[in-house]
């Protein structure tokens, strides 16, 4: 195979504008790809969150002192914010997961329905998050 003499040198490759430069002014985001990315990010965040869930239940099993230590951190302002973010991540991942199960069953593949499902998932996950906290504090 002949050597390719027109290949860019590594210095030229390094000087090329890369994707963060493209995002926004040159690259238009689509709801579909953003939601797909959000599904992965929320899934990874929830996986990390399982460590905190394990610490919660282990501290409860370990005794009153351990639980008090955990509760102090969990009920701090950052703890409450994290808990609220966790609940939305879970409910978003849950709603978009159902959207994926619908696709897996062979339905709603038309572009119109893919977008409709996307808007529904965002709206329902927000409503569910608000509802969960409203009901939790009401009862």
């Amino acid at each position: 195979m002949a050597e390719n003499t027109t290949a860019p040198k590594s210095a030229q490759i390094a000087a090329r504008p890369l994707s963060p430069f493209m995002l926004g002014p040159y690259y238009k985001f689509q709801l579909t790809s953003v939601l797909s990315f959000a599904h992965r990010i929320s899934g990874l965040a929830l996986s990390l969150g399982t460590v905190l869930i394990a610490i919660w239940v282990l501290s409860a099993a370990n005794g009153a002192w351990s639980y008090a230590q955990f509760a102090t951190v969990a009920r701090s302002i950052p703890g409450e914010v994290l808990l609220f973010a966790w609940s939305w991540a879970l409910l978003y991942h849950l709603c978009n997961g159902i959207r994926h199960l619908v696709w897996d069953s062979g339905f709603a593949f038309e572009i119109k329905h893919v977008y409709l499902g996307g808007y529904l998932v965002v709206a329902i996950s927000l409503v569910l998050t608000a509802a969960v906290w409203a009901v939790a504090f009401a009862v």
Binding site: A54, L58, A60, A136
Partner: protein, 127 residues
């Protein structure tokens, strides 16, 4: 030039290794997590401000303990499968990939065992 046929070169290079097992179990655990995680997120929102005796009494109730064990089984399993896919998609180096997957699986197994043990200890213990 090799005399091997394209088919003989492709044989044994399949990517899935275990067929549709992973895909199916991810969906099955997802299905289980629809009711379980809805219940769990609501319960945490409700009980995260509870004092220690209230929290213990809640976990101690048989239905709650069983639901928590089911949730932990499904959640840690689903989580391990999901993180595995992310590692397979984004880590090209084969050694890092295999090592990462092994670490993730073992960590999920350990966290699941610890969490379920903690629930059972409270459930079987005296209040």
């Amino acid at each position: 030039m090799s005399l091997r046929s394209p088919l003989s070169e492709a044989r044994g290079l399949g990517s899935a290794k275990d067929g549709v097992g992973h895909w199916w179990m991810q969906r099955l655990s997802a299905l289980a997590l629809i009711p379980l995680s809805l219940w769990f997120v609501f319960s945490i929102a409700r009980y995260h401000v509870a004092d220690y005796p209230t929290m213990l009494a809640w976990i101690h109730a048989p239905l709650v303990a069983v639901a928590l064990v089911l949730f932990f089984l499904a959640a840690f399993y689903h989580s391990a499968l999901g993180v595995q896919v992310v590692i397979e998609d984004y880590i090209g180096n084969e050694a890092l990939k295999i090592g990462g997957i092994a670490l993730v699986k073992l960590a999920h197994f350990a966290l699941a065992a610890a969490s379920i043990y903690a629930v059972l200890k409270i459930a079987f213990g005296a209040l």
